[in-house]
Amino acid sequence: MRTSVVRALDSLTRLELCVLDALVVSGQTTPAELCTSVQATTAAVKAALERLVDLALVWESTAGLRPLTGVAEGMTGGPDAGVSGLQPRSADPLTPDQVASRLAELSPAARALLEHVLEQGGQATTSAARHTVLPEEAANPAEELLSRRLLVPRGGGSVVLPGEVGLVLRGGRTTTAPVDVPPELSTTPREPALVDRVAAGAAFELVRRLELLLDHWGTHPPSALRSGGLGVRELKAAATFLHVDEPAAALIIETASTAGLLASRADSDGNPVWVPTDVFDGWSTQDLPQRWALVARSWLESPRLPGLVGTRDPAGKPWNALTPELTSRSMPETRLMTLRVLAELPPGQVLASGTGLPSLVARLAWLRPRRPRTRADQAAWAVHEAAALGLTGLGALASYGRLLLAGDDPGDALGVLLPEPVDHVLVQADLTAVAPGPLETGLARKLQLVADVESRGGATVYRFTPQSVRRALDVGWTAAEVHEFLGTVSRTPVPQPLTYLVDDTVRTFGAVRVGQAESFLRSDDETALTELLHHPKVGPLGLRRLAPTVLISDTPIEVLLPRLRELGAAPVVEAADGSVRVTRPDQLRARTPRVRRAAATSAHETARVAAVITAVRAGDRAAASRPAGSASLSPSGSLAALREAIEIGGAVLISYVDNHGSASDRIVDPLSVEGGQLTARDHRSDDVRTFAVHRITSVKPLDVPS
C-alpha cells in the first residue's frame, strides 16, 4: 500500500505534487478552492487533479475531493518536491476572516513566534505555556497564540499551526511561486539537416567501431576480471585500438554488452574472457541502420551506467567497465525522459552548448521532482551518450532518433543519411588500396584477406604486402583469382608493381612442401625402390615416392623393417645423423641380485622398537576405551571435560582430527588448556604436544592412571 503510494507520487510533476499538497492541507475541498490556493492556471490545476484522480491518489467524496489515506505521510521533501510545509486544516477550522482578526490582536513577539513556527514546518513544543487560557490572561507569546487557537495543542507539550492559519499567513496560497510553468530550455538555432548529418556520422562510427572491436575480440579476447568486469588495461588497449578515449571506449563496450553482442565465457584454459556472442554473427550481416537500431534500443532500456567507468566508488575502488553492479534502476527512465524533452524541441532548435544541459536538468527536476538524487549526473550522461550513439547531433534529437523514440523503425530515415556503401577501391602504385567510403561487407572481408588494413574511418586504406598476399594463397586463392579480384574491385588500372608482387609471391608460395611421414626409404638404386613400390604386398605399408631415390611410408619403422625383410629387401636403418645403425639380436641378461647382510643391532633401533611398542600399547588402550557410540562434543563440552581431567590429573582418550582431516584416537595426559590449545602428554609419541581444542571431537576420561 505505502510502496505503491510512494511510487505513484514519484511519477508526479511538481505541479501535480503542489495540487496534491494543497489538498492534503485542506483535508477536503472543491476544485475551485484548490485553484485559488495553488499558483497555477485553472486549466493546469484541473488537468493535474484529473491525473491525481486517475492515479487514485485523490478520490471524490460526496463532500468534495479528498486525498488518499497515506498520501500525507508520503509527501516528503521541500518546496522543490511540491511540499508546502503547511499542516492540515483543523477539523473545525476558523474562517480566514476570523484568523485575520485574531492575527491583528497579536503582540509583535507573538507574531514573530508564529512566523517562526510556520517556517519550521508548522510544529513546535511548548513546555511552560498553559493550554487553557483566555486571550486576556495570556502571560507570554505562546499563550497568546494558544488562547486564540492560532496554535493548537497536540498533547505531550507539542503544538501545531493549523493549515487555515498557515494559509492566511501565506496570503491564502500553499505555494510561493507559480508552479504550472516548466523551466524553459535554453536553445540555439541549428539547421535540422546538419543535426541529422552529425548524428548519422556518429551512428555510423558507433556501428563501425562496435564491429571492429568485436571482430578483434573474437580472435583476441580480453580477459574478464574475477568480479566480472573488464580490466583497466584491457579498456586502455581497446581505446587505443579504436582510436578513441577511454570513456568513449567504455561506452562502446557497455553498449555491445547491453545489446547482447558481448558476453563472457571461459577460454581454453578455463579463464573467463569477453567474446562476441552468436547474436553478433547475425547482427553483423544486417544492414547498418538495422544494426544501429538494435544497439540504440537496447541502450535506451539499459540500466547500465557507462558514465561511471573510470571513476571511483565510495570505497575508493575504481569502477571497471562491464562490472555487474554498475547499474541504476532509474537510468532507463532518465534516458527516456531526457530524450522526450529533447524531442519536444521544435525542429531547428538545439540545446545551447553551455547553458543547455543545466536547463535540461532543471526541466527534468520539474517533471520528476521527487527522485533521484543523482539525476543531474544521469541526465548529463544520457545527453552525452545519446550524442555518442548518434541518437542526437549537436544537442538535438535526429529525425530518425525521433522515430526510434516513438517505437517506429528508424531504418529508412537513417539509411538515407549514411554514406552509400562503395563497391570499388582505388589501387595505387605504392601498393595501397583506398576504399573511399564504407565497403560492402563481403567485399571488405575479402579485401582484408589479401591486404592489411592501414587506416580506418570514413574510408579504409589497405596495404598489399607479400605476407598479406600469401595469407590469401594460404586459404586457397590462386594467382588468377587474386588478379581477377583486384581487376574487378579496382576502379583504376591495377599498377604493375602490384601485379608483380602477386606473381612474385605465388612464385615462392609452396616452394617448400611440408608433410608427415613415419619413416623414409632411401636408395641410390632407383630400380630397387620402383620394384618395392610395385610389389603386390606393400599396399598396407603406405609407400609414396617423393623423388626417384626416396620413398616415404606412414608405417613406423619397427613395423616397416620386419615387413620389408619379409618382402625380400635388405634394408639397413639410418640414424638421425645419416650413419648406418647396425643392430643384432638382443641377448637377454638380468641383473645379479644383491644379498643383504643382517644389520647389527643398535641402541638406536632398540629405542625405536620401544617407541613403537609404546605407541601400539597406547593405541590398544585407546581402542579398548573407545566408547561404543562416542557422541562428539562441542568445543565448550570438550573444554569442560578437559579442565576436569586436568584437575583430577588423569589420562583421557580424545578423538582428534588433524590438519589433513584424518581422525585418530589418542590417550593423553592433559596439562593445561588455554587460548583454544590443549597442552598434553601424548602416550603414543611419549611427548608433550599441543592440540587445537576445536579439533577434538570427543573426550573420555580413563580410569587407568598413566
Binding site: R197, G201, F204, L242, Q428, D430, S455, G458, T508
Partner: protein, 550 residues
C-alpha cells in the same frame, strides 16, 4: 552527405582524392597544417601532427580555420574527438612566449599561469631559467634560448619566439637578375621565410634551393654563414652566388678541410664544423668570427647532431633551412622545428614538376636472379654480410652494361655504395669513377666534363648523393645503396630531376637481387618513390630489351 574530396580518418590521416574537382582548392587549404605523407597517383595522404599544427599556428592560422577547412572539404562526418584534439593541440602553441624585456633582457612570458607553473616545475627546464620577474614572467639565461625552446617542445608547450634577431654586420647583397629571373615559388619561399623570421623552406631537389638562399641573403643584406654538406657542394654554392648575385669571388670564403677563409659570405661544410680535436670542436670560433646576420643551412634533414647543439647558441641570428624533405631518418624533426624554426614554405614535388621546373622521371626496378652458387653463398652468409653479397653480385654488371647500351648518347650516372663494386663497374664499363678518395680537384674536373658532355658515363659513390649539380644527367642506374634509406633515394632521384633540354624524361633504374635483403630494402625505397607519386615498374633482368630504346 557532403561531396567533398577529403576523407578524415580517425587516426588523424587525411585522404585527398586528387581527381576530385575541388582537390586543388582543398590541397591548398590543408597544406598549411597537414603534412603530406604520400602522394601516389589517386589519393594523397596527409597527416595531422602536433608539429604540423604548430607550424600552422606559427604561420598565423588558428584552430577554427583548421576545423572549418576540415568540415568544408570532408566527405563524411569528421570524428568529433579529432576536432577536439586539433583545437587543444593548436592552443598549446604560443601560450608561452620568449620576449625581450626592456629591463631584464630575455624572458619567458605567459598569460596562462597554470601552464607557466607547469613548465617551471619541469626538471629539465629548471636550470635554464633565472628569477621570476613577476607572476607571468621568468628570466631566461640568454645562452639557453635554443635549449629552452627544444625542451619546451618536448614538454608539449612550444614557445613562440618574439625575442627578435640581431641585424648582424651589414653587407650589401642583391640578386643579379639580368640573365635570369627568380621563379615565383622561389620568391614566395624567400618572402615567407623573411616574414617568419626563421624557419625551413621545403623544396624538391632541382627546384633551385640555392636561389632561395640567395634571395634570403638579398633580404638580409648582411654577412652570411652558409653551412653545406661537403666541399663540392660548397664550391657549387660559391659559383652559383657569383653568377646570380652582386657578390664577387673575393667576398665569398670557403671554410673546409682544405681552405679556411672567413669572408663576408662564408661557406662552411658540416664536416669541418663537426671535426673534433681532443674532444673539442676546433672550428667553433667560426660561428663567432663575424657578426653574422643570416645563417643558411643546406640540406637540413642531414644536419648532424653537433650542429644542432651549436645552433642552439645561435638563436639570436636569423636562420634559414633548405631541404627537400623534413623527414629525418633519426626522427629529429622536432629539433629542426625548435632550433631552426617552423616550416615556412612547402611545395609538393609533383606540382613543381607539373610546372616544368623539374624533369619527370621513369623509375624502373630491374630484378636479377642470383645464380645458384651465389644464392648458396648468400644463404649461408652472416646476416651483416648478406646485403653486401646480394647487392654486389657480378650479375649486376651485365645488367648495367645492357642498360647503358639502351641509352646511347644520354649522360648516365651509375651510383653505388661499395667501392669494390664501383671499381669493377668502372673497369667493365671503361668509365671514370668518383669515390671518397678522389681528390676534390679531380672530382670537379670529372663533374665539369660530365656537364659539358665530354664524359658520358660516370660511376659515382655516395659522395655524389648530395648537392652536386649535374643537370645534364638523364639516366641513373643505382646498383647498391645505404640499406633502405628513403632519404638517399630522394637525393639520388634528385640528381636526375634538374630540368632537361627538350623536356625529355629521366630514367632511374635500380638493380636489385631477387629474393634477398637487397629486394627487401629496395621495396622500402620504392615505396618512398611511389609515395612521392613516381609510378615505377618492376621488370626481370631477362626481360630487358636488347639494344637501344628511346
Amino acid at each position: 552527405m557532403n561531396d567533398g574530396p577529403l576523407i578524415v580518418q580517425s587516426d588523424k590521416t587525411l585522404l585527398l582524392e586528387i581527381d576530385h574537382e575541388q582537390a586543388q582548392a582543398c590541397r591548398r587549404a590543408i597544406a598549411p597544417f597537414a603534412e603530406l605523407e604520400r602522394s601516389p597517383e589517386h589519393i594523397h595522404t596527409y597527416r595531422l601532427t602536433p608539429l604540423g599544427l604548430w607550424n600552422a599556428r606559427a604561420a598565423g592560422h588558428d584552430a577554427e580555420q583548421v576545423i572549418d577547412t576540415l568540415l568544408a572539404f570532408s566527405r563524411y562526418a569528421v570524428p568529433h574527438a579529432l576536432l577536439v584534439d586539433v583545437a587543444e593541440t593548436m592552443a598549446r602553441y604560443g601560450r608561452l612566449r620568449l620576449e625581450k624585456h626592456p629591463v631584464h633582457g630575455l624572458v619567458l612570458a605567459s598569460n596562462d599561469r597554470p601552464v607557466l607553473e607547469e613548465v617551471l616545475r619541469a626538471k629539465k627546464i629548471a636550470g635554464m631559467l633565472g628569477n621570476r620577474v613577476d607572476d607571468d614572467t621568468v628570466l631566461v639565461h640568454a645562452s639557453e634560448r635554443g635549449n629552452l625552446k627544444q625542451a619546451l617542445l618536448k614538454l608539449g608547450w612550444p614557445a613562440e619566439d618574439f625575442a627578435g634577431y640581431v641585424d648582424g654586420e651589414a653587407h650589401p647583397i642583391s640578386l643579379d637578375e639580368s640573365e635570369w629571373h627568380l621563379r615565383d615559388y622561389q620568391r614566395d619561399a624567400a618572402e615567407s621565410f623573411w616574414h617568419g623570421g626563421s624557419g625551413v623552406v621545403v623544396l624538391p631537389c632541382g627546384a633551385g634551393k640555392t636561389l632561395v638562399g640567395a634571395a634570403a641573403m638579398a633580404h638580409a643584406q648582411a654577412t652570411t654563414l652558409i653551412l653545406v654538406t661537403n666541399t663540392v657542394s660548397a664550391r657549387q654554392w660559391k659559383d652559383e652566388l657569383v653568377r646570380r648575385t652582386s657578390l664577387t669571388e673575393d667576398e665569398i670564403g670557403e671554410y673546409s678541410g682544405a681552405v679556411k677563409e672567413i669572408r663576408p659570405v662564408t661557406i662552411a661544410t658540416y664536416q669541418v664544423m663537426t671535426t673534433r680535436r681532443k674532444g673539442v670542436y676546433s672550428h667553433l670560433e667560426l660561428l663567432d668570427a663575424r657578426d653574422w646576420g643570416l645563417i643558411v643551412y643546406d640540406e637540413v634533414h642531414l644536419l648532424p647532431a653537433p650542429i644542432f647543439r651549436m645552433t642552439a647558441n645561435l638563436q639570436a641570428r636569423r636562420r634559414i633551412g633548405l631541404t627537400a624533405t623534413l623527414v629525418r631518418e633519426d626522427g629529429r624533426e622536432g629539433d629542426v622545428f625548435s632550433l631552426i624554426g617552423p616550416k615556412r614554405y612547402d611545395a609538393p614535388w609533383k606540382d613543381i614538376e607539373a610546372q616544368g621546373w623539374i624533369a619527370p622521371a621513369d623509375c624502373v626496378e630491374v630484378r636479377v636472379t642470383l645464380p645458384t652458387n651465389e644464392r648458396i653463398v648468400y644463404a649461408t652468409a652472416e646476416p651483416e654480410e648478406r646485403y653486401r653479397l646480394a647487392s654486389c653480385t657480378h650479375h649486376k654488371i651485365q645488367v648495367v652494361r645492357d642498360l647503358v647500351a639502351q641509352h646511347p648518347g644520354q649522360p648516365t650516372l651509375v651510383i653505388g655504395q661499395y667501392i669494390e663494386q664501383l671499381d669493377e663497374l668502372a673497369a667493365a664499363l671503361d668509365a671514370p669513377v668518383i669515390k671518397g678518395e678522389t681528390p676534390v680537384k679531380e672530382r670537379q674536373r670529372l663533374f665539369e666534363a660530365f656537364r659539358t658532355g665530354e664524359v658520358g658515363l660516370l660511376v659515382v659513390s655516395k659522395v655524389a648523393n648530395f648537392s652536386i649539380d649535374l643537370p645534364s644527367a638523364e639516366v641513373a642506374i643505382q646498383v647498391s645503396g645505404s640499406f633502405g634509406s628513403r632519404q638517399e633515394e630522394a637525393q639520388r632521384l634528385g640528381r636526375l630531376l634538374r630540368p632537361k633540354s627538350e623536356g625529355k624524361s629521366a630514367h632511374f633504374y635500380t638493380i636489385v637481387s631477387r629474393d634477398t635483403v637487397d629486394a627487401d630494402f629496395a621495396q622500402n625505397r620504392q615505396r618512398f618513390l611511389a609515395e612521392q607519386g613516381y609510378a615505377y615498374r618492376i621488370i626481370d633482368a631477362e626481360d630487358l630489351p636488347a639494344g637501344p630504346v628511346s
